[in-house]
Symmetry: D2
Subunit: 170 residues, 4 copies
């Protein structure tokens, strides 16, 4: 059975809190055997999530890049070069079983949260500002996590819903 894929999205120039959350969450996701999917560039939340994951032996990181040939971060194991620019954000979301935004601080992240809600994906906002929470409450259904550990617990619950209650023990 394929390993679950967790999309971790966020700004390329995030707050310190969002960077730290992505680093911790990347590690927690990888420790559970799940694949970390990001936008693949060596910047901000993308870089942090991959770096956190690569602290774990056997981890797998998947980067969906905007460019054609290069630009992937050093902690990306599998790079998909879309040559589609920001239109690749839709692929990030479609390829994730669950999407976690570590802060909603930049326009690319806003587009990914919007696309994930539009696609009916489970969406977790981790460390979102009060403004972001007020706004997105009107836009769709999502879950809130106070920290990386809570996000990992919510992801596990969502995966059980997606893959059936016996997962992952059977």
């Amino acid at each position: 059975m394929r390993r679950p894929v967790i999309g971790i999205v966020g700004a390329s120039d995030p707050s310190q809190e969002s960077y730290a959350a992505a680093l911790a969450l990347g590690r927690l996701v990888a420790e559970r055997g799940w694949i970390v999917l990001t936008g693949g560039r060596p910047l901000g939340v993308m870089a942090a999530a991959c770096a956190g994951a690569k602290q774990v032996p056997g981890s797998l990181t998947l980067g969906i890049l905007p460019g054609a040939l290069s630009g992937e971060g050093p902690d990306v194991d599998v790079a998909v070069f879309t040559a589609m620019g920001e239109a690749r954000n839709a692929i990030n979301v479609m390829s994730s079983d669950v999407v976690v935004a570590c802060g909603v601080e930049g326009p690319g992240t806003v587009s990914e949260v919007g696309l994930a809600l539009r696609a009916g994906k489970p969406v977790i906002l981790l460390g979102a500002s009060a403004d972001a929470r007020s706004f997105f409450r009107r836009i769709g259904h999502w879950l809130e996590a106070a920290g990386p550990e809570e996000a990992a617990r919510i992801i596990e619950q969502e995966l059980k819903i997606l893959r059936g209650p016996a997962w992952p023990t059977s």
Copy 2:
């Protein structure tokens, strides 16, 4: 010289105010000779903007559709079938000289505003809620319009910046 292209985006199930704003703005844009670009479906803001434009003889409406074969509204003159689902939102934005959101009420619109800000396009929020304005103020630079007429005036100013001060008289 190519006619300017104005992207009008908004929910497929908008508030009455947003629907009315899109209808009026579609007409105002078409009266100025500009092309109305939408997501092309026969729903909500997309349908209203095209219907408004088609009240004007000589108007041209361009719909960028998510599907492969059909699904365009009756007021779409030129339909582009992307077969790319919501990833086509990125094309809507890239193909518009100016993007106007008539309300920010659904997740698809959120993604388009995010992508437009990310691409550095001139973005006008028309009739956005206080929550939306508070949130997007942290995300990037955009312009606010109280109504369709003000939106049309701002579009004209932005087009002069994009195309040079002599435009469109020379």
Copy 3:
């Protein structure tokens, strides 16, 4: 009822014969009130088809561009900027009621003929080499035109099949 869209594809550095065929076909398509769709750049078959169309008053040319901001030819009326590079070839094909290749001389054209056959679109090869015809006969069903006038006649037949026998008189 929307005007039919005829995709005219071919090399950016075509043979003289293919260039001349695209110029003549663009004009014939426009004279019949159909929209000419191309890849939009100011090169080769794309440029010729648009130039031919723009000899006709009231003609409409649609260019689906690989880039994000510019690069369209002078005879493109409506430019769609995909920012998707050559992945936009799939959109060219999906958005055309009928696809005509003026020569199959470059790799981009090969991809478009392949994608059009894959999508089940009516495909006309105009001026294809004997090698191309031998090869594509094994790949799928397509129609052959000896010249632009024959291509226009075949397009008309295909449009009658697509839109019903009463078209375009009713």
Copy 4:
């Protein structure tokens, strides 16, 4: 250093020879530690290449799918859901260091070979018909392999060119 990615493309309904070639090549690629990239569906050359790879412990297979949620074959380790239909063929090609076509027997494969030549990727035709070879000789530069072992040797040479002569020993 990221593992090389080898795109193996071919028909969903291939000849017996092409199926056998893809199965053998998938295994040879995986034995060398390279990632096998395919279109991801449980059909034809895609399925064979992945099945061959998964005979090798530690192998990694990457499937770039046309759909949004499912449709991947049982031997795909990492599935990317593009929801872009056949436009995803461009991503397959851009994400591969080297592209090998096991037969050129269907329209999708034709599009991938065209896109790979257009992108300047190293392209190997394995078991292509005489017609295909005659045709593609006019279209661009590519390499010919008589069988899977020769294809693997050519891939290795191309990777040395791409990654430098010391690769993979340093």
